[in-house]
Amino acid sequence: MRNVELHFLVCSYFLVVSDQRHMYVTFTRRNRERCSRVFFFSSMAGIDGEKKSVLEMVQADGTDEGCVTFVLHEEDHTLGNSLRYMVMKSLDVDFCGYSITHPSESKINFRIQTRGGVPAVEPLRRGLNELSDVCQHVLNTFQRSVSEFRSQQDDVMD
């Protein structure tokens, strides 16, 4: 069992996993995927909260760390498509795609295949950070434009 620590940024409206939370790894078996190693990353919600996993990693046997499918719970096209775009824009990603397993279940399978032996977690983490930066910049630009428009309107009315 390997201990891997992931840090996620808080971006409002996206993954609601706050950073620096301690995560623990449990073993379970998934018949569908025929994998030997499945990692569950759960967040401990409060003192006695139930453990709801936000992100799972599924890796097929025999491949390196570069080809991983992440299962993101409680997500849909809103995060899937925008994250796919950000991850595709990075140089060491060979393949990136997402799919919604079934419209009644709110989870997405997000697959990243890297080249050059880079672990797939790297582009994912970078993509999330960059997405959060983009959204912050868009928000700032929007607020600036709105206040400029408002002051323009006030000038016209005076």
């Binding site: 809103t78 925008s82 960059e130 868009v138 434009s145 709105v146």
Partner: protein, 326 residues
């Protein structure tokens, strides 16, 4: 980008990267292809500085209920994510629990409760918390209490033989302005100047006749559109790509007039150049891209219809009367 371009068109590669071409039977270059490695000679890796330099937002029109602005330099995936978030993940306050103490009108309880839930409530959701799961009563930090108590009576002052319900009865139409705010806890002090209640007072809820009455208490909570559409802050949020119309050859005379009629009004103007009338693209933003011009055999080769891939004209209409940034 809205001017007429009769000069040389851009190179093929640029066109595939930047324009969505509207053809007669299909639409070409729909998907984003500028990922690193696709085009030799182009560096398409994500660069925040390059994005920040090219990105801009221009607010075109803004008033109490609607907003139209342009986002230039962003990809469709992100623009769509913003649109989805506006519709489904921006919280508002709406009626969730309806406690019906007396309802003798002909509107059934559940129908009336459904109608009450859909009424937009004027309250800033940022000042409230979400209700914790399993909490039935609600506290002052997460609930707004509204009351609707109305009884229909016969109008004693009506003339003997009038048939107009407006004269015969008092309170026979129940409007949303009859919903009154009942502050709980310290809400009366905290929200003293923000008059909490329905945004519009003229929404008809029910009709009554003498002897029928409604005695209802409503609890409003904070929620998001994903849970129920009543929590969606926008009536709708949509975007479209900026159209671009390029004239490939000079169009003059009677053909120019026909060309003008193929587009939405204001897109193509006909000008007089030395005795001949010539068509000129004035404002392609107004076009609705109906591709009508491609139905005319003699005009379809004169025009190239395209959309600019990273220029989004976004518009949103809200029913909640606050147009702050979402």
């Amino acid at each position: 980008k809205t001017g007429a371009k009769m000069a040389a068109t851009m190179s093929n590669v640029d066109e595939i990267r930047n324009r969505v071409i509207l053809g007669e039977f299909d639409i070409k270059n729909v998907h984003t292809t500028d990922y690193p490695g696709n085009y030799p000679g182009y560096d398409d890796t994500w660069n925040l500085q390059k994005f920040q330099k090219n990105f801009r937002i221009d607010v075109v029109q803004m008033d109490e209920t609607s907003l139209e602005f342009d986002m230039v330099g962003i990809d469709a995936a992100l623009a769509n994510a913003f649109r989805r978030i506006l519709l489904a993940e921006v919280p508002t306050m709406a009626v969730e629990k309806v406690l019906i103490y007396n309802n003798t009108s002909i509107i059934q309880d559940e129908i009336l409760a459904h109608r009450l839930g859909l009424i937009p409530i004027k309250a800033d959701p940022r000042l409230f918390e979400y209700r914790s799961a399993g909490d039935e009563e609600g506290t002052e930090i997460d609930t707004i209490q509204l009351q609707l108590k109305i009884k229909c009576t016969r109008n004693p002052r009506a003339t003997k033989d009038s048939a107009d319900p407006r004269e015969l009865y008092l309170n026979h139409m129940v409007y949303s302005k009859d919903m009154k705010w009942a502050p709980i806890g310290n809400q009366a002090d905290v929200f003293a100047d923000a008059n909490i209640g329905p945004v519009h007072g003229d929404i008809l809820l029910a009709q009554l006749r003498p002897g029928q009455e409604l005695d209802i208490v409503m609890h409003c909570v904070k929620g998001i559109g994903q849970d129920h559409a009543k929590f969606s802050p926008v009536a709708t949020a949509s975007y479209r790509l900026l159209p671009e119309i390029t004239l490939m050859e000079t169009v003059e005379g009677e053909k120019a007039e026909r060309l003008k009629r193929c587009f939405s009004p204001g897109v193509i103007e006909v000008e007089n150049h030395g005795g001949k009338v010539v068509a000129k693209v004035v404002n392609s933003r107004l076009d609705t891209c109906s591709r009508e011009v491609l139905r005319h055999d003699d005009l379809k080769n004169a025009v190239k219809l395209a959309r600019v891939r990273d220029h989004f004209i976004c518009s949103g209409v809200t029913s909640h009367s606050k147009n702050t940034d979402c």
